[in-house]
């Protein structure tokens, strides 16, 4: 059975890439594309999902060499528990989303051609899978950029909209600069691995064997962290993310947020824990700090957002931050040679990776269903959709509960593990870290609570209350395939939340590959019911019991009260005697986020304007109508992106002076170049 798992993954990739060649042939049969090709993608995802799960469980590394690539540098492939885990994450989500896509994409037919979408979608999936199996620098970067380029075209799907083009552009530029940084990191390591007389230094195996001086290792790490961080959307490189993810069709947004960001996490893990393999303390501190900053800014931005998809995108920044917090802790623990705790932190981070893929995918699919039904993304125009979308609403609610880290759903498990990792920090032999790290835990608690607030708002404003505009009056529920996709994801959220012990036992090979220790063993002593990462005395959590406990109380109370005879009278909403209660009197999304806007507003660039409406004969003090508008912008724009862009243009203006149009000046350049070289170089 040598290489059987990797060939399974390759089969999946092959199917995906082959369909790229086939789809254009059916350009004129749009319905056929949608109804046939997307199920094929789901099937392909199942293959790789299977392989991924087995690869993690097996714990062995399979390698494979394809006879293409650069001279003396054929494409190296490797399937080990780490890549297997991320393949599982990506494939599981891809499976749900591909099912979902069938219904979602069908909505485009008649409006615009879906061929473009059906070409780049599988390329995108294939790119992600290839990133995860590649085992040399060149192949890795090819896959990495394939993924970026394919998603760029997917973001551009509705290319008539100027904002979409802008979003795609910013996205690609950031992604590419990130890729160059990664390339340079490879350059550092390859240089130490085998020098540059041969091509052999470019394989990850060679890099693993290289011994880098600490300064160079740090250089490689910083470059890689910048590169992957740009893709993952760490603050302050995150600005592209809330632009690009919402611009894409929702199924693609789900994949981008749920899966693509995870490849960046994969990159960071692969680099630090596997290839460079001895993280330094300050790397961990850096990652931890960046993670916390991303988490807090991400969640606040999400909370202040009124656009449903942008809200979800910002929340991805937050979750990436949480994942990085775990990884940072892992690095800190490893640098102090505490493998068990490192294993705990890494497991927490990776568990959250898996979870985030599931619930963010689910939420984006839900948002897609809403968009599909109403045609708007602005929550201020929604409301009361729970009555029209009887399936979507509860599924979306599951996503909201999971992402808000509420038991018994999956988000809570990973958050709980992260907190446990935090609470381990007092055993570090460093006093100042002992003092500082708990503050990080407090910040994380703030993030978790704000995130709950954010999703109360997201669900409440979108689905509850009354319709706020015509758009949702005619809304309809998601199609069956869309429901199916969402339902699988929702089930996964629940299962991952209720049976964490099983998942963590499965992840045992992973943490032993990365940290040299596993937390699953200590949990195993007590049994599958109790999650006890370190010891039963230290901390424990039994998700099934929580679920069972709440459910049984609920049931008992419900049944008890039901037997009582008391009628339910449906009446109009109490209007405080005003008689005319309209949907505009509801609390809006802007209103909901007013308290955080006041408290944390200084972190953002906020423009608030109140303008009286047109004069209609009334005195100015009593206008008939008042327009209120508030605009929240990321400070990263003003502090980071704007200045960089302005500087580039200013420099461009200066360079333009070189080209003055006058031939004498050009000749003078040559003349002075000669003189300069003669003077200086000789």
């Amino acid at each position: 059975m040598e290489g059987s798992l990797s060939s399974l993954v390759l089969t999946a990739i092959f199917i995906l890439i082959a369909s790229v060649a086939i789809v254009p042939l059916f350009h004129r049969r749009q319905h056929l594309i949608v109804s046939i090709i997307f199920p094929v993608f789901s099937a392909a995802s199942l293959f790789s999902l299977f392989a991924g799960i087995l690869a993690v469980a097996g714990g062995e590394a399979e390698t494979l060499i394809l006879p293409v690539g650069l001279p003396d540098l054929p494409f190296h492939l490797r399937l080990d528990p780490l890549s297997g885990f991320f393949i599982t994450v990506v494939s599981l989500l891809a499976f749900c989303v591909s099912i979902y896509s069938r219904g979602y994409i069908a909505g485009f037919i008649g409006k615009r051609s879906v061929t473009h979408l059906a070409i780049f979608y599988p390329l995108f999936l294939a790119g992600m899978l290839l990133v995860l199996v590649s085992d040399d620098a060149y192949f890795f970067l090819i896959s990495w950029e394939l993924m970026a380029a394919a998603s760029y075209f997917l973001v551009l799907y509705e290319d008539g909209v100027v904002e979409n083009r802008r979003a795609a552009y910013i996205y690609l530029v950031v992604a590419h600069i990130g890729a160059v940084a990664i390339l340079l990191a490879f350059g550092v390591m390859a240089g130490f691995a085998a020098g540059f007389d041969t091509f052999h230094g470019y394989t990850f195996d060679a890099m693993r064997g290289a011994s880098l001086p600490p300064a160079w290792a740090s250089t490689a790490f910083v470059l890689a962290f910048l590169g992957f961080g740009a893709k993952a959307g760490i603050v302050p490189l995150h600005v592209w993310l809330p632009e690009a993810h919402p611009a894409a069709p929702s199924n693609v947004s789900a994949l981008m947020s749920g899966a693509m960001l995870k490849t960046a996490i994969y990159g960071i893990v692969r680099f630090t824990f596997d290839i460079l393999h001895t993280p330094q303390l300050w790397w961990g501190e850096l990652v931890l700090a960046v993670g916390l900053a991303s988490a807090i800014l991400g969640v606040l931005a999400a909370l202040l957002e009124n656009d449903l998809k942008r809200l979800l995108a910002y929340s991805s920044v937050e979750n990436i931050g949480i994942i990085l917090v775990g990884l940072g802790l892992g690095m800190i623990f490893l640098s102090f040679h505490q493998p068990l705790m490192a294993a705990l932190a890494i497991t927490a981070a990776l568990y959250h990776t898996l979870n985030h893929a599931m619930f963010k995918g689910l939420l984006f699919m839900g948002a897609g269903a809403v968009l599909h039904a109403t045609g708007v993304r602005n929550m201020e125009k929604m409301g009361g959709l729970i009555h029209k979308m009887k399936w979507t609403a509860p599924l979306f609610l599951v996503g909201c509960l999971s992402i808000s880290a509420l038991p018994p759903f999956n988000g809570f498990v990973s958050e709980w593990l992260t907190f446990q990792a935090f609470l381990m920090s007092p055993s570090l032999p460093s006093q100042h870290l002992n003092l500082v790290i708990p503050l990080g835990a407090a910040l994380l608690a703030l993030v978790a609570a704000l995130s709950a607030s954010c999703f109360v708002k997201a669900f409440g404003v979108t689905f509850l209350g009354h319709c706020r505009s015509e758009a949702c009056a005619t809304a309809h529920d998601a199609t069956p395939s869309m429901r199916a996709g969402m339902m699988i994801a929702a089930t996964a959220c629940l299962l991952l939340g209720v049976f964490p012990t099983v998942v963590i036992a499965w992840m045992g090979n992973l943490s032993s590959q990365l940290a040299g220790e596993t937390i699953a063993r200590s949990a195993g002593e007590v049994g599958w019911l109790w999650l006890t990462p370190v010891s039963a005395q230290r901390a424990s959590y039994a998700a099934p019991m929580v679920l069972l406990g709440i459910a049984s109380v609920l049931l008992v109370v419900f049944l008890t009260l039901r037997s009582k005879k008391s009628a339910i009278h449906r009446v109009p909403l109490w209007d405080c005697g005003f008689e005319k209660i309209t949907s505009t009197m509801q609390y809006t999304s802007t209103a909901f986020s007013m308290p955080p806007r006041l408290i944390f507003g200084y972190l953002f660039h906020i423009k608030e304007r109140v303008r009286p409406g047109l004069p209609d004969g009334r005195p100015a003090e009593f206008p008939a109508k008042v327009n209120y508008s508030v605009r929240v912008r990321d400070r990263a724009w003003g502090w980071f992106y704007r200045p960089v862009a302005d500087l580039a243009f200013r420099l461009a203006k200066h360079t333009a002076r070189l080209q003055h149009g006058r031939i004498h000046i050009y000749l003078a350049y040559s003349f002075f170049t000669i003189l300069f070289l003669l003077l200086v170089a000789l």
Binding site: I142, A168, G187
Partner: protein, 482 residues
């Protein structure tokens, strides 16, 4: 013999085309002649592959792994350009942009230009190299002003004067080189042969050679388009007919760089250090930075891609300057893939300009909807040229950048800045041209898609798979350029 045949075909067809003039079959003859040279060059390539480098015609010509691939590349790109120019020039003729005489001149000079380039590549003589470089300028300078518009005349004038002066300086370098070699090799032609020079390179006087190299680098560097000697390049590329822009960018720059690299090897050996290489690195990085910033504010599409050529020539120059097996390999590959990509970009740009009736970027819109193949051609061209995988440009930039990280890490920030700005600039402009809705008024064209997609396919293949023969040539060339 093959080499002589190569020259004869292009020279003969130049004369033929001058006689035939603007007849119906002129374009086809042009294609045929170019294709014939291409086939012959393939034979030459096979020969070289089997027997290694060789000299011919009493040492007047020589082929080795370094120039043979450039010969094949030159003939190949000129063939595809000829195919492209058939459709393109027919359109221009039909719209009255070129006259009767113009077409005659165009075809004849096209072949003449090929002849000059092949001569430059294959000659063993530094002096003849200079002569053929000058010939290449002379044969294209009037093509640039073919349309006789004020701006095209201006562009041609600048091209002529700047390259004329530049190449004159290279002659001074040649004289100095001869001055140095004369003492070692003896008087007469022998003293100017590459094959002899390289043998005695370590005995050549380093002071003179360093002086000579300064003149070479400024002289040939002008033709390569190194900043700050580059100012003719955007003008000439933007104002001439597009097929000429394609060959100028795709081929002529390569030839000039080829000459410069040959000189560098010689000088480095004489000096016993990488002194010449360091000068080239300086020019390379300066070109990269200045060109990429210039890209940001471009309004004219052909001008923009001309700047991109400067940028890529800067990268290649830098790579050769850096030296070492990987970087040199990267430089060789970069010349190859840049040439293929850039010429195909000019093909699509030419058609795009014809569709929109303007070269103004702001007025070119919605190409994908107007003509999908042209639109996607441009998209993939830009993707390839900006160094996105899996296209070949990425492969070369990958090698060059990683090697730089090792040998010149201090230059990395500048390098990265250049690449990033160029990427941002090109994509920004490309998006506005390609996506969105096309304008109401647009010209119908019959585009030549084959050259574009043939080039793109080759570049794609080079990014994913490296043929054995090319690898051997490159490794041999790396050995030669050590």
């Amino acid at each position: 013999m093959i080499i002589v045949a190569l020259f004869t075909v292009s020279l003969f067809s130049a004369v033929m085309l001058a006689i035939i003039g603007d007849r119906r079959l002129a374009a086809e003859i042009n294609i045929l002649a170019s294709f014939a040279t291409f086939v012959i060059s393939l034979f030459l390539a096979v020969d070289v592959y089997h027997s290694g480098g060789m000299t011919a015609a009493d040492n007047y010509f020589f082929v080795d792994a370094f120039n043979v691939y450039l010969v094949v590349l030159t003939t190949f790109v000129s063939t595809t350009t000829a195919v492209f120019s058939r459709n393109y020039m027919r359109f221009e003729r039909a719209h009255g942009k070129v006259g009767h005489k113009g077409m005659r001149f165009y075809h004849a000079m096209f072949q003449m230009f090929i002849f000059a380039m092949l001569l430059a590549l294959l000659t063993n003589n530094v002096g003849v190299l200079w002569i053929s470089m000058e010939l290449a300028t002379l044969s294209t300078v009037l093509l640039v002003s073919l349309y006789r518009t004020p701006s095209s005349v201006e562009a041609a004038w600048k091209y002529f004067i700047l390259c004329g002066v530049g190449i004159a300086l290279a002659l001074f370098g040649t004289i100095l080189l001869y001055f140095a070699s004369e003492k070692v090799v003896g008087e007469g032609t022998q003293g100017l042969l590459w094959t002899n020079l390289i043998l005695v390179s370590d005995r050549l006087e380093p002071t003179i050679l360093s002086l000579a190299f300064i003149f070479f680098v400024v002289g040939y560097g002008t033709k390569v388009g190194l900043v700050p000697l580059h100012n003719w390049l955007p003008d000439a590329h933007s104002e001439g007919p597009t097929p000429i822009s394609a060959v100028l960018s795709g081929l002529l720059l390569n030839i000039a760089l080829y000459a410069l690299v040959r000189c560098k090897v010689l000088v480095n050996k004489a000096m016993g250090s990488n002194w010449a290489g360091e000068i080239m690195m300086g020019f390379g990085i300066l070109s990269l930075i200045v060109a990429s910033f210039s890209l940001l504010r471009q309004k004219d599409v052909k001008r923009m891609f001309a700047y991109s050529s400067i940028e890529h020539m800067g990268i290649a120059t830098f790579a050769f300057g850096l030296g070492g097996p990987i970087a040199t390999f990267g430089g060789l590959l970069h010349m190859l893939v840049h040439s293929l990509t850039k010429s195909s970009i000019f093909f699509t740009v030419g058609h795009a300009a014809q569709i929109s009736g303007t070269q103004h970027i702001a007025n070119i819109k919605g190409l994908i909807k107007a003509n999908p193949l042209v639109g996607w051609g441009m998209v993939f061209g830009v993707i390839a040229i900006t160094g996105m995988p899996p296209f070949g440009v990425f492969a070369s930039e990958f090698l060059i950048l990683t090697a730089t990280m090792k040998y010149a890490p201090m230059l990395i920030p500048l390098f990265m800045l250049g690449i990033a700005v160029a990427f941002a600039a090109l994509f920004r402009k490309m998006q506005t041209m390609v996506f969105g809705d096309p304008p109401e008024v647009r010209q119908e064209i019959s585009a030549a898609h084959v050259p574009v997609f043939l080039h793109m396919a080759l570049v794609l293949v080079l990014g994913l798979y490296f043929p054995q023969f090319l690898q051997r040539w490159f490794l041999d060339a790396v050995e030669i350029l050590k």
